[in-house]
């Protein structure tokens, strides 16, 4: 371990950077700042690259944080308050004030090429706190989220970013949601786990428990203990369409998603219209109302057009590649009205099916003609869906639990089918 004591100015800088990142919603902690101080003491402070990597490996713990981190660090290095303003860099560029190293963690020393912090320009050297407008900071945060979190955005000329409708759940509805969560927890199919649990007389000999028991009887093993594999619920993946055509269901659907996440299951939730957004995080809080509002805020294209194929493609590439869907129960909730190539949709659903234990497609708004769904996308995807559930009134939400219970734990009976054309 190194004994180099970090200099004061270095610590002030680390603290200021941490504050700047926090202002924009990056979760940095005080201990990260402390580690950064220690790290900086080991490095050549004139070297931007070294300082950058030291700060990044301590402060940004998520690849999605990196763009935001980069923006803040760039400003930090130039010696400006590491807060993006509403108008971005232009406004900050003309800011002549240089924050000086004064008391507390408010000031921000510069790392110029001489490696020393620059002196305050005058007695009024601005403090970081003065640079951050209280109301503006919130807007910045909103902006930051929008800019940096929708990384999977697929461009669409027709995309309409609608305003999320007012969202308030009555106490009654919340209670219903909790019931749904409970139903779900019971209904989700299980799989064999590698963990073991005690059994009565079958399975493998459990030495640990046997020795413990023998201790009670002076070393005599009266009855050996056994253990067998335990069962755990399968991972649940819910991919939900929130486009314009699904608008009247979206409020209820999000409620259902929230119930899924809150049910204590291993669940991941995504919503899409023209782009795919992961909403597990926002939905994971304990305050359902706030979670729903946050989830809505995270979805840029609420009630815009639909691009199911590209959205599933984004899912297959960004998430399924890493094993998200493996052995999972995948539930797609959509009406299948897609404005893109149905062949792509078919390909992506097939890909999903190859990895998932079961693909369930819930279509709340089925339109049929002679028993065949009318929506092109729906028709194309149908051969690759294990359970197609048309006409389920998701507004009643309770149905979802019942649906899942009906899915069962077994592998679906899949026949070899002619593959989707790849041209």
């Amino acid at each position: 371990m190194s004994d180099k004591a970090p200099q004061h100015v270095v610590c002030d800088a680390a603290v200021a950077l941490g504050r700047g990142l926090r202002e924009l919603g990056l979760r940095t902690t005080v201990d990260a700042e402390i580690v950064l101080c220690r790290a900086l003491a080991e490095l050549d402070l004139r070297d931007r690259t070294s300082v950058y990597w030291a700060a990044r490996c301590t402060m940004a713990r998520h690849p999605d944080d990196v763009p935001l981190f980069d923006a803040v660090f760039a400003r930090f290095w130039e010696g400006r308050t590491p807060v993006l303003r509403e108008t971005g860099a232009e406004q900050g560029e003309s800011d002549p004030r240089v924050p000086g190293p004064q008391h507390g963690g408010d000031s921000l020393p510069q790392f110029r090429t001489d490696g020393r912090s620059s002196p305050p320009l005058d007695g009024q050297a601005s403090k970081a706190s003065q640079e951050i407008p209280a109301a503006g900071a919130h807007e910045v945060e909103e902006r930051g989220r929008k800019d940096f979190q929708g990384v999977l955005a697929a461009y669409s000329p027709l995309e309409v970013h609608g305003r999320p409708e007012a969202l308030e759940y009555a106490e009654q509805e919340l209670a219903a949601l909790r019931r749904v969560a409970e139903d779900l927890r019971r209904a989700v199919p299980e799989r064999r786990s590698r963990r073991r649990q005690p059994t009565t007389g079958s399975g493998r000999l459990d030495m640990r428990a046997t020795v413990r028991d023998a201790l009670r009887t002076d070393g005599e093993t009266l009855r050996p203990s056994y253990s067998g594999p335990s069962r755990r619920p399968r991972r649940l993946l819910v991919v939900c369409d929130v486009s314009g055509s699904m608008e009247r269901y979206s409020r209820a659907l999000l409620g259902a998603l929230e119930a899924v996440v809150g049910s204590g299951l291993r669940a991941e939730t995504f919503v899409f219209a023209t782009q795919l957004t992961r909403v597990t995080g926002p939905l994971h809080g304990h305050d359902a109302k706030r979670a729903l509002a946050e989830a809505r805020a995270a979805v840029a294209d609420w009630s815009g057009g639909t691009r199911i194929g590209p959205s599933l493609a984004a899912f297959n590439r960004a998430y399924a590649r890493r094993g998200f869907a493996r052995g999972a129960i995948v539930i797609v909730i959509s009406d299948g009205w897609d404005r893109d190539d149905p062949r792509q949709l078919a390909r992506e659903v097939q890909r999903l099916q190859l990895q998932a234990r079961r693909v369930v497609w819930i279509n709340p708004r089925p339109t049929e003609l002679g028993g065949q769904p009318l929506a092109m996308g729906m028709r194309a995807a149908l051969p690759y869906i294990d359970d197609y559930l048309p006409g389920i009134d998701t507004r009643a939400m309770v149905e979802l639990g019942r649906v899942l219970a009906g899915v069962g734990a077994g592998r679906p009976d899949r026949r070899q089918r002619p593959r989707a054309t790849t041209t």
Partner: protein
């Protein structure tokens, strides 16, 4: 770049692991500050190799803990030697049953008790495969390099091991664990670096072949594939072509050997459908990313 970092980079280079400046800096800090290093990245960017290279470069012993679903305390930290305990009980010998005598070391405990003369690199591989309860076991270990065994007490490390944790991000690791680590995200290498890596790993392969293959793979990474080829696949493919006695890339051979590089049928069809020759030509004139 500081001297220490450059030195480390050279040392890794001698083990044929070519780290970029970012990785070298972060690794340098992890070694200096004695913090565990958490590396994440796409499959095949060399996360596990990194730990092996660090061990080789520092002359340390490598201990590897491969995580899997259901891994628990007793396969990662310590366990008791139950058959011996039972025998001991039956024989009625004096002595405590839960003592050092009957303690079995698993990788984490072994890392703590390793020879002070010889440093240890502990690789905790694919932590995201373990269930999240397991992360809680690691917290004490990672922050204080100690383990508490209820029957014995606290076991501390004489010399803290270098800890490298890898994850494929199939799930988000817990914040508490991340807080105890330095974090680094490894990207796929750029063309120059990938060529350098292939040259270092496969010194016998013709230089022209190596650069053509690497450019081709870089080109593939811009395609919309389900599974992007990693450096490991690049090396496999180069080797395959070399074994076949090719000193350059041609469409016919590429077509026959593509299975060493791309391992999904859909991706194979996509690449072949787009025309191999065209890809090879594009790779040949490759400078920057092609227009989408």
């Amino acid at each position: 770049m500081s001297e220490g970092i450059e030195e480390l980079r050279l040392a890794l280079g001698r083990e044929r692991y070519l780290a970029d400046e970012g990785l070298a800096t972060v690794l340098f800090l992890a070694l200096r500050l004695r913090r565990p290093l958490l590396v994440e990245g796409e499959p095949g960017v060399g996360k596990t190799e990194l730990a092996k290279a660090v061990a080789a470069a520092t002359g340390a012993r490598l201990l590897r803990l491969q995580c899997y679903e259901g891994i628990d305390l007793h396969s990662a930290l310590y366990d008791w030697d139950y058959p011996r305990q039972l025998l001991h009980l039956r024989a009625g010998e004096p002595g405590e049953l839960y003592s050092e005598r009957f303690l079995l070391q698993r990788p984490l405990l072994e890392a703590l008790r390793s020879d002070p003369e010889r440093p240890t690199v502990l690789l905790i591989d694919e932590l995201d495969r373990a269930d999240d309860e397991f992360e809680a076991f690691l917290l004490e270990f990672l922050s204080d390099f100690q383990i508490t065994i209820p029957e014995i007490g606290v076991i501390e490390a004489a010399t803290p091991p270098v800890v490298i944790i890898t994850s494929n991000r199939t799930r988000e690791l817990h914040e508490a664990l991340k807080r105890r680590c330095l974090y680094h995200w490894i990207e796929h290498p750029d063309l120059a670096r990938e060529i350098a890596i292939a040259r270092a790993r496969l010194p016998e392969a013709p230089a022209a072949l190596v650069s053509q293959v690497c450019a081709f793979v870089q080109e593939l990474r811009w395609l919309d594939l389900y599974r992007l080829p990693g450096v490991g696949e690049t090396l496999d493919w180069t080797q395959s072509l070399d074994v076949l006695g090719r000193d350059g890339l041609d469409a016919a051979t590429a077509d026959k050997t593509l299975g060493a590089l791309v391992k999904t049928r859909e991706d194979l069809e996509r690449i072949r459908g787009g025309g191999l020759q065209e890809l090879i030509d594009r790779a040949a004139e490759r400078r920057g990313p092609p227009a989408a």
